[in-house]
């Protein structure tokens, strides 16, 4: 017993070799024992299933980008929209200079619709990733990116600029004021949540709720005592909108998203351990305090960078990570890529709906994230559905073969 257990434990990791290994060279336990055979056989299906999900999400994302750039008051076909985008990316293609497309068409596709759909992708991916990190490190399924007062801080920052003009805050734009408001609010929540120099998850949740309410009270007061026409722009910011998207706004969320994604993937195993408890994670060699603080700080920064340009889009950061878990299981190594791609696709779909359903009037996107997201999530939660991931497939495999 001891030999078998520890003989395998000492082997070095061989991540690249395993997938191409055939049955004959895999350890005997995976062939001789009932459990081993079942686990090994279904793992192949799991890897295929996860790949399929990722490929489908990637195709969906490309599809929604094309659909978004071609849809709008100036009609451009899918093919022409694709050619216009390619024309900007590849220098010297003939159709850009031979008068095939009018300046108006070019402007609609390249200057308005493309940055908008890209911002939707970045925002959705960012909120989903931030939500996944928050849920893991505070171990609470209700955790979401706005847990740390990011949205209420951003909201107050934006409302101050809208109500008093940018002069009072030293000429800051609405986005920059929102970004700074978010960071200040998050910092305050962090300070309140510390005990003996360590951030306590339950204190964090309570401090976030309390400070969020306080800031929202200020925001409501400023909104209702201000000019009537400002109420509309404030509501639009608080509910979220991508209508002001431009290429210039993409840089900050893109850079932060990339950095946080690298961090999250590199710490995926640590996040798994953290979900099982601080003691367990410590026993597995995870530096719990550092990982929690890093994840919270980066998630807050990512959320702030998204909220500053998109407003407080709700629901994405709460629902998409759970959806990813239901689809591929709770292991962060497979769940994070699915959540990021799923969030991107979801917000792009919601934004397309927001600007087409009541055209030419634009509906705040937050209404659509909830209206599309909630029924979809409830459908995923329907009774009798088996779990996702390795275990879910294992169970289905057993049930069908029995």
């Amino acid at each position: 017993m001891r030999g078998g257990l520890h003989g395998t434990a000492e082997q070095p990791a061989e991540p690249s070799v395993t997938e191409t290994r055939d049955e004959s060279s895999s350890p005997p336990e995976l062939q001789t024992s009932v459990t081993g055979r079942r686990v090994a056989a279904t793992r192949r299906w799991v890897l295929r299933f996860q790949r399929l999900i990722v490929v489908l999400l990637l195709c969906g994302t490309v599809g929604i980008v094309l659909l978004s750039v071609s849809t709008g008051p100036i009609s451009v076909s899918l093919f022409d929209a694709g050619r216009l985008v390619l024309g900007h990316l590849i220098p010297g293609v003939p159709w850009m200079s031979d008068g095939t497309y009018t300046g108006l068409e070019d402007q609609a596709v390249w200057q308005f619709r493309l940055p908008r759909v890209l911002l939707a992708l970045l925002g959705g991916a960012g909120l989903a990733l931030a939500g996944a990190l928050m849920q893991a490190v505070v171990r609470n399924p209700l955790a979401e990116p706005y847990l740390l007062g990011v949205s209420s801080g951003a909201g107050l920052g934006a409302v101050v600029v809208i109500s008093f003009g940018s002069a009072v805050v030293g000429g800051l734009s609405i986005s920059l004021a929102a970004f700074l408001g978010a960071l200040v609010a998050t910092g305050a929540v962090f300070l309140c949540a510390r005990q003996d120099g360590v951030v306590i998850p339950t204190r964090l949740i309570l401090a976030g709720v309390a400070l969020g309410s306080l800031l929202s009270a200020f925001t409501s007061f400023l909104t209702l005592t201000g000019d009537a026409h400002q109420v509309f722009s404030v509501m639009f910011f608080l509910l979220g909108s991508l209508s002001a998207a431009s290429f210039g706004q993409l840089a900050l969320p893109a850079i932060v998203l990339a950095a946080v994604l690298v961090f999250a993937m590199f710490n995926a195993r640590g996040l798994n351990a953290l979900m099982a408890g601080d003691e367990t994670a410590t026993a597995l060699g995870v530096n719990v305090h550092t990982l929690r603080l890093g994840s919270l700080g980066l998630a807050a920064l990512l959320t702030a960078s998204v909220v500053a340009v998109c407003g407080g889009i709700g629901f994405v950061g709460l629902i998409i990570p759970h959806t990813a878990r239901l689809l591929v299981g709770s292991d962060h190594r497979s769940m994070i890529p699915v959540a990021v791609l799923g969030g991107a696709l979801f917000l792009a779909v919601a934004d397309l709906a927001a600007r087409t359903v009541a055209a030419p009037t634009e509906v705040p996107i937050g209404i659509f994230t909830a209206a599309i997201g909630a029924p979809f999530f409830l459908w995923l939660l329907r009774p009798g559905r088996t779990r996702g991931g390795l275990a879910g497939l294992l169970r289905r495999h057993r049930e069908t073969s029995a």
Binding site: R2, T8, A13, V39, E279, T280
Partner: protein, 270 residues
């Protein structure tokens, strides 16, 4: 890997461990060695510092004074992951935390997690990992639970799975903090039997002194944070020592065969 001089395993050594919380001392100058390859019972009344002492060995609580050494090496001087490869833990919190988080981890997720001490970052699980996990689950007779959700399991099944996770870590030393909580008597004995059969260095914090007598080789008794005795289990868990540590009267019984002893307890009348 650097060349290492072969050293006979020395076990897990607590050397003058003192843990303070504010002005209160949770553990005072604890000094003993859990012998290599043997099962050591850590006993004592509630709040006597059993968990705290174990936590100094899995690096959750840094001792204010003293060192914890594994086979002569200071555990707090080595990198976290290196320590985690050598010491596996079945902690008290594990069940409740997973239940309340509600993230839907499966039994496989829970046990596979242990393998992360041998990998870094994003790397996928290898066949060796899976077979270790399968092995561990079968060692605790929980192979059939592999595809279940952790929260669906009964208390006893959860403890099996958590033991399997500790085994899957592949460490030579095992720390168990009251592993028999919420278990029926049959599985209490089953679990300690499994631990004993592994032949690893193990420290088990226990409330049931008779389980300690039945399944442990060695015992250490804590009272109010002080180590009052340690040694072979039969010599430590005596009527006199139980009276000192727990304030109850104990009578020794010899089981048929004459090899094993058990204790019966009575309230001490003042």
């Amino acid at each position: 890997m650097s060349a290492r001089i072969y050293r006979a395993p020395e076990g897990l050594q607590f050397d003058g461990i003192t843990v303070e919380r504010g002005r209160r001392k949770l553990v005072t100058d604890a000094d003993f060695t859990a012998p290599a390859g043997q099962v050591t019972a850590l006993v004592g009344p509630n709040g006597s510092g059993k968990s705290t002492l174990l936590k100094t060995a899995y690096r959750l609580v840094r001792p204010d004074f003293g060192t914890v050494r594994l086979d002569g090496e200071d555990l707090w001087q080595m990198p976290r992951r290196q320590a985690a490869r050598q010491i596996a833990v079945m902690a008290q919190e594990s069940q409740t935390v997973v239940d309340s988080a509600g993230m839907g981890q499966s039994v496989l997720d829970i046990v596979l997690m242990a393998r992360s001490v041998h990998h870094s970052g994003f790397s996928p699980d290898t066949d060796a990992d899976l077979s270790t996990v399968v092995n561990s689950l079968e060692t605790v007779q929980a192979g059939h639970l592999a595809d279940r959700g952790f929260t669906e399991l009964s208390g006893g099944e959860k403890q099996r799975v958590l033991l399997a996770r500790a085994l899957a870590q592949g460490a030579g030393t095992l720390l168990l903090d009251e592993p028999t909580n919420h278990l029926d008597i049959a599985f209490q004995m089953e679990l300690l039997h499994i631990v004993r059969e592994l032949g690893l260095t193990a420290i088990v914090a226990l409330h049931d002194l008779n389980l300690a007598l039945a399944y442990c080789d060695y015992a250490a008794v804590l009272s109010s944070g002080r180590l009052i005795d340690h040694g072979p289990v039969n010599q430590v868990l005596t009527e006199a020592q139980v009276r000192t540590a727990f304030g109850v009267r104990a009578s020794t019984m010899t089981l048929s065969g004459g090899q094993q002893t058990r204790l019966a307890f009575q309230r001490l009348e003042h």
